[in-house]
């Protein structure tokens, strides 16, 4: 129980503390410390939940079950590794004169602020607070997107701000409707926004209201997930912000938005008793998956490229959650993990690559394997992994998604097949020339700390080969929670 409070207090303290640290190098190190602290706390929490099952705080404001606890651990882990990467990276950016001391201070403060918002989204039991935290995450990152103050970055930040703001507002409307529907049920007036309570009485919530509410929630949080056609902010924000930012945006924020949607879906399913919510999610997911796959082909900016790949994968997960069968749910949960690990690792590598080539333009970066093998291989392996090749974990989840789809919606499988083919081609036609080939002049090796990448890819590889028992147990429990059945 204490672990939860720690989890929320540590980033808060970090935020306050970092806001007054002037030396940026030191700030980087402190940032790492705080993140490792919260990782410890999250692991502690994970152990608790593993041993005692779901935890509900006395005020009922916080609720940890097997679904969000592994997301918490994941968030903490990615947060830590990314902070390890971002220290030297931002220092290098500072040497290049892209950012000043003050902005770096803002950066580190907001880093912790963002983590705080993430933890809050995941731990809270109150749909309203979840909304608040989600909006808070936007506000925390919006200034980081425009950190470089280039026209593009400002534009990206503005779009990010407005679009997510509007979207999130709709989510709030959905929440209001949720609350309203709950109030109609007698006996839960004062606790009507608590997820646990809602889930308990899901069957007695009014279907009409719930379905409207879900539309607003889906469009609202879906904007954050980056579902087509609400995705437009995502590539801009990813490509223009500092790379660590892109890493945690892709690796964490999208996951948590999806988490929120799934929580809502569980309520709506309980109330409607039909597959409407699932169908909506499948539709959005498939659309995002296919469109993003096509977008991949026309990218000229390497970070944009991978942000579209993020959209594609989020689409796949949304689709899988939409199917809702145990296999699909298991796959989606697993995919959340592997994707955020792999994608953040890739963004780290991409950050180094663009620093090394002094540009983000794809056609300017060539022959990485010759310039700096570690980065070249990192990028290549990462891409192979994200493209869903075994023995990397991403494959396992994509495999299960395909099989599950073949089970329930066989006529959709051709679309998935085509999508995966197109996506792979789009991704790889850009990456292979970057990695292989001859080196352009002026491209020199840099000091790069590939440890985070290796750790991430190592874990993903391991997960692809074997899922340890406790993790499998987690996934099974979460699957049971969401889909109501155990896979096999």
């Amino acid at each position: 129980m204490i672990a939860v409070y720690l989890l929320l207090l540590i980033p808060l303290a970090g935020m306050l503390f970092l806001s007054r640290v002037r030396d940026s190098h030191q700030a980087g190190r402190i940032n790492i410390r705080f993140n490792s602290l919260s990782l410890v706390a999250s692991l502690w929490l994970a152990v608790d939940v593993l041993l005692e099952g779901p935890i509900l705080s006395h005020s009922q404001m916080l609720y940890i079950d097997s679904f969000n606890v592994y997301l918490i651990a994941l968030t903490a882990f990615v947060g830590l590794t990314t902070s390890i990467f971002s220290g030297p990276y931002m220092a290098h950016e500072q040497e290049l004169g892209k950012v000043g001391k003050k902005r770096l201070r803002l950066y580190y403060t907001m880093y912790q602020g963002f983590m705080l918002a993430m933890y809050l989204v995941l731990t809270t039991n109150n749909m309203g607070v979840m909304w608040v935290a989600m909006e808070g995450a936007t506000l925390a990152t919006v200034l980081l997107v425009s950190l470089y103050r280039t026209p593009e970055s400002v534009e990206a930040a503005w779009k990010y701000f407005i679009l997510c703001g509007v979207g999130i507002a709709q989510a709030l409307f959905g929440t209001v409707l949720l609350y309203f529907a709950a109030e109609q049920v007698h006996g839960i007036q004062e606790t009507a926004l608590l997820w646990t309570v809602l889930h308990e009485h899901a069957s007695s919530l009014n279907p009409g209201v719930m379905s409207i509410a879900f539309v607003f929630l889906l469009v609202g949080y879906g904007t954050k997930i980056g579902l087509v056609p609400l995705h437009n902010w995502l590539p801009d924000a990813h490509s223009e912000g500092p790379t660590p930012m892109s890493a945690i945006l892709s690796g964490l924020l999208l996951n948590d938005a999806l988490y929120a949607v799934v929580r809502c879906k569980m309520l709506v399913d309980g109330s409607l008793g039909n597959h409407q919510a699932g169908n909506l999610m499948m539709g959005f997911g498939l659309l995002s998956f296919l469109v993003a796959a096509l977008f991949l082909h026309r990218q000229t900016d390497i970070k944009r490229l991978f942000s579209y790949s993020s959209i594609e994968h989020m689409g796949l997960m949304t689709f899988a959650f939409g199917i809702g069968s145990p296999w699909a749910t298991f796959a989606a949960l697993f995919h959340m993990t592997t994707h955020s690990l792999t994608k953040s690792a890739i963004f780290v590598t991409v950050g180094y690559a663009s620093q090394l080539a002094k540009t983000q333009r794809i056609e300017k970066i060539r022959g990485l394997i010759r310039t700096q093998p570690s980065i070249g291989w990192g990028l290549l392996i990462g891409t192979i992994a994200i493209a869903g090749f075994p023995p990397f974990g991403v494959f396992a989840s994509e495999f299960l998604v395909l099989v599950a789809t073949m089970n329930d919606y066989p006529w959709l499988t051709p679309l998935l097949l085509i999508g995966i083919g197109i996506a792979f081609a789009g991704l790889f036609r850009h990456i292979q020339p970057i990695v292989y080939g001859d080196v352009p002049e002026g491209q020199t090796a840099i000091r790069a700390n590939m440890l985070p990448v290796m750790i991430h890819l190592g874990i993903v590889l391991f997960l692809g080969l074997a899922i340890p028992a406790f993790l499998g147990n987690w996934f099974n429990q979460a699957t049971l929670l969401i889909s109501g059945k155990l896979p096999l």
């Binding site: 503005w158 779009k159 407005i162 679009l163 509007v166 979207g167 709709q170 379905s211 539309v215 607003f216 889906l218 469009v219 904007t223 056609p229 609400l230 437009n232 409407q276 909506l280 469109v291 096509l294 977008f295 991949l296 082909h297 026309r298 394997i369 010759r370 192979i384 090749f389 075994p390 023995p391 494959f395 396992a396 495999f399 299960l400 395909l402 099989v403 073949m406 089970n407 499988t413 097949l417 995966i420 083919g421 792979f424 081609a425 789009g426 790889f428 036609r429 292979q432 020339p433 292989y436 080939g437 001859d438 692809g464 080969l465 074997a466 899922i467 993790l471 499998g472 896979p487 096999l488």
Partner: protein, 704 residues
């Protein structure tokens, strides 16, 4: 026991892969050895010698291939054990998904393909050390090559072991990805990169199709292990869906027309011993997958499937050899012949499917045996030819056969070995290629037992296509051998090259050549052992295969057809010897050397001899429609009024129809779609808000 050897083989392959990473770790290893052997100073000295800068490189190189050799030998043992023992062993490894561990099953079919891998692997491990030396000093790290070779081999073997979908696909993709890195190994040429990209793309799509094929079975059986699949009953429609998906997926890997076009791009650009493994062995793994899926997992067989496979196989056979005829890059030519031989194998499989669907298990078994035997034979002679080609390229640094010639005088030993491979692939008696084609013919000839008249006429027609392809193959290899080894050297490199100094580079191919002759002359034991496979798959065997004794091959019955390769060989040798005695020994005059007939003009030189292009011209003219030919003649004229020709330049480009008619359109469609889609992202924020606005409206309208 067999399973133990199978595991051992995988482990050895992986070990060689990992050992490759230690390429420049000699000091560390030296210190480690020093610490390890501190008890035995003698050994310490020895180790110090090994790990010294001078010797380490060679030691390391050899150790890699020794490990591969161990893997090969144990693979042969494992395969032999399963094939002659006839036992089915199963196992599970505690890996994979929490509720789906890796299931292992090792039966005669896997054993047979294990044997196949092992035999080729031994040759490669003999060949390798000499061949890869050129990679040691250069831009290509040997560690990458070694690592992915190990993974590649391990992947292929794991595919044969897999007994559940998840594990199967993992192994399958491991095979594809690692071979991708091998194809992209020499990545400084843009063409190689392109080939590698295409290769991986095809692998992805194929794998997806395979997953879906398994997905159909999984959907009906509710499980993901093959045991579930074996018991499941499907409706004909769904069975056909699964079958078509499997045919697409495995056929794409196997390089069936029209999905073949990536194959001749990818296989030749890898290092030659890898090309041998890819063309010789990996394609067979695809065949294995198809057999496993169709004959083992699917519960029924429809005659339409057989017809489809038969047609596709025949098309691949014919087009493969025709395109091969037009190639002048020695390795591309061989790669295209892989397409042809895969076609032959699939003709056999198609016949088998037809017969089984007609309820004639006996004949089905015969056709299956023919296909399996041809897989083995093709693995042997194609690897042999690729290794030989590798030696040629290694010694002359020429891939274009138009620049070679007269090598038989400079590399007599290689010439003999290569000739054996050539005779085998040209399906000439008494070599092994002929045996399997003969069996395929025999299977096709039993078509009179088939019910449907369409099939009954289709089967012999496909057989005649096979005959045409066989004859064209002979033509093509007369061209290859004649241009490369015979005649006069066309370039200085060809004139000055010499036999490779490294003995292994000859021993590898020679080992395969020996096997070719052995299997060609004594095919019966092999076929007898294949009975175990058909027995496990179809429940029937070929009882009469050796009705007249083990020297004779009588697939159906002695009176229907019989062939005794050994006696044929004896007969040829005997007659030849008699003629030799009568005409030469008995007062025949010694042959006198003189200039060849030059019509009295004198000065014959290499530029006057027939080129490969000229040789294959009649075929090109006759089969015009299947090629995409681009022929240009530039005349340089000069003098007053440009009346006199001072120069002629003739250019010919013959390419595969699959590009303009299949691959290019798909690419165009995708590009068009992506351009079209990317219009939605206008960059104007008001548009974006409008998107979410209208999304909202539409959804609200939709639900209410």
């Amino acid at each position: 026991m067999a399973l133990f050897f199978a595991y051992l083989s995988v482990v050895a392959a992986l070990a060689s892969g990992l050992a490759a990473l230690a390429v420049d770790k000699s000091p560390g290893l030296g210190r480690f050895a020093h610490w390890l052997l501190r008890r035995w100073p003698k050994l310490q000295v020895r180790a110090a010698g090994v790990f010294s800068e001078a010797h380490y490189a060679e030691f390391h190189r050899n150790s890699l291939f020794v490990l591969l050799g161990i893997s090969g030998v144990s693979a042969v043992l494992a395969g032999g054990g399963a094939l002659f023992g006839g036992a089915v062993t199963t196992d599970t490894l505690p890996l994979g998904l929490p509720w789906l561990n890796w299931h292992i099953r090792f039966d005669a079919l896997s054993g047979f393909f294990y044997l196949l891998i092992g035999l080729v692997l031994i040759a490669v491990s003999l060949y390798g050390p000499g061949y890869v030396r050129e990679f040691e000093h250069g831009r290509h790290p040997l560690s990458v090559l070694g690592l992915f070779t190990g993974l590649f081999v391990a992947g292929m073997e794991l595919v044969l072991l897999a007994d559940d979908t998840f594990f199967f696909v993992i192994a399958w993709e491991l095979m594809s990805v690692s071979s991708y890195f091998l194809v992209a190994f020499q990545h400084e040429h843009a063409s190689n990169r392109r080939a590698a990209f295409l290769y991986l793309l095809m692998a992805v799509i194929g794998a997806m199709a395979i997953i879906l094929a398994f997905g159909v079975l999984a959907g009906f059986s509710g499980g993901l292990t093959f045991d579930h699949f074996r018991t499941v009953k499907l409706t004909p429609v769904w069975a056909s869906v699964a079958f078509v998906l499997a045919l697409f997926g495995f056929g794409m890997k196997a390089g069936l027309v029209p999905l073949h076009a990536w194959l001749p791009e990818a296989h030749p650009v890898a290092p030659s011993h890898i090309s041998a493994l890819m063309s010789g062995v990996m394609l067979k793994v695809a065949v294995y997958g198809f057999i496993r899926f169709t004959f083992d997992l699917l519960d029924q067989v429809l005659w339409q499937w057989g017809g489809l496979v038969l047609v596709i196989g025949a098309a691949s056979t014919l087009l493969g050899v025709l395109y091969a005829m037009m190639q002048h890059d020695i390795k591309r030519l061989l790669a295209y012949h892989s397409v042809e031989n895969i076609g032959i194998i699939f003709i056999g499989l198609g016949l088998s499917l037809i017969y089984i669907s007609e309820g004639q298990q006996q004949l089905g078994a015969l056709a299956l045996v023919a296909a399996l035997l041809h897989s083995l034979n093709h693995a042997l002679f194609k690897s042999l030819l690729f290794l030989g080609a590798g030696t040629i390229i290694h010694q002359t640094h020429e891939q274009n056969i138009e620049h070679l010639g007269g090598l038989i005088h400079r590399m007599p030993k290689l010439a003999v070995v290569f000739l054996i491979g050539t005779l085998s692939i040209a399906a000439l008696p008494p070599f092994n290629g002929f045996v399997s084609e003969w069996l395929t013919f025999q299977a096709a000839l039993q078509a009179s037992g088939i019910g449907g008249g369409v099939l009954r006429s289709m089967v012999p027609t496909s057989a005649s296509v096979l005959a045409l392809a066989g004859a064209l193959t002979a033509t093509c290899f007369v061209k290859l051998y004649g241009v490369v080894f015979l005649g006069l050297p066309r370039t200085r490199r060809a004139a000055t090259c010499h036999e490779s100094v490294h003995r292994g580079m000859l021993a590898g191919p020679a080992w395969l050549a020996g096997l070719c002759v052995l299997l060609g002359v004594f095919p019966t034991p092999m076929i007898e052992s294949l009975n175990v496979v058909t027995g496990q798959l179809l429940g029937v065997t070929l009882p009469g295969a050796s009705a007249l004794g083990w020297l004779w091959l009588t697939p159906v019955a002695p009176e229907v057809a019989s062939y005794s390769a050994s006696l044929v060989l004896v007969g040829i040798l005997l007659t030849g010897w008699v003629c030799y005695q009568l005409l030469y020994r008995r007062g025949g005059l010694e042959a006198r050397r003189a200039d060849p007939w030059d019509c009295g003009f004198g000065g014959l030189n290499a530029r006057m001899q027939y080129t490969a292009t000229a040789f294959s011209m009649p075929i090109r003219r006759i089969f015009e429609p299947v090629f995409d030919v681009e022929e240009t003649i530039e005349e340089k004229k000069s003098g007053p009024g440009n009346f006199q020709n001072t120069g002629l330049h003739y250019q010919l480009r013959v390419s595969d129809l699959a590009w303009p008619y299949l691959y290019a359109p798909v690419a165009r469609v995708v590009t068009w779609l992506s351009r079209w889609v990317s219009r939605i992202q206008t960059g104007n924020i008001r548009t974006y808000i409008a998107y979410s606005f209208f999304t909202l409206l539409i959804l609200l309208w939709g639900i209410s």
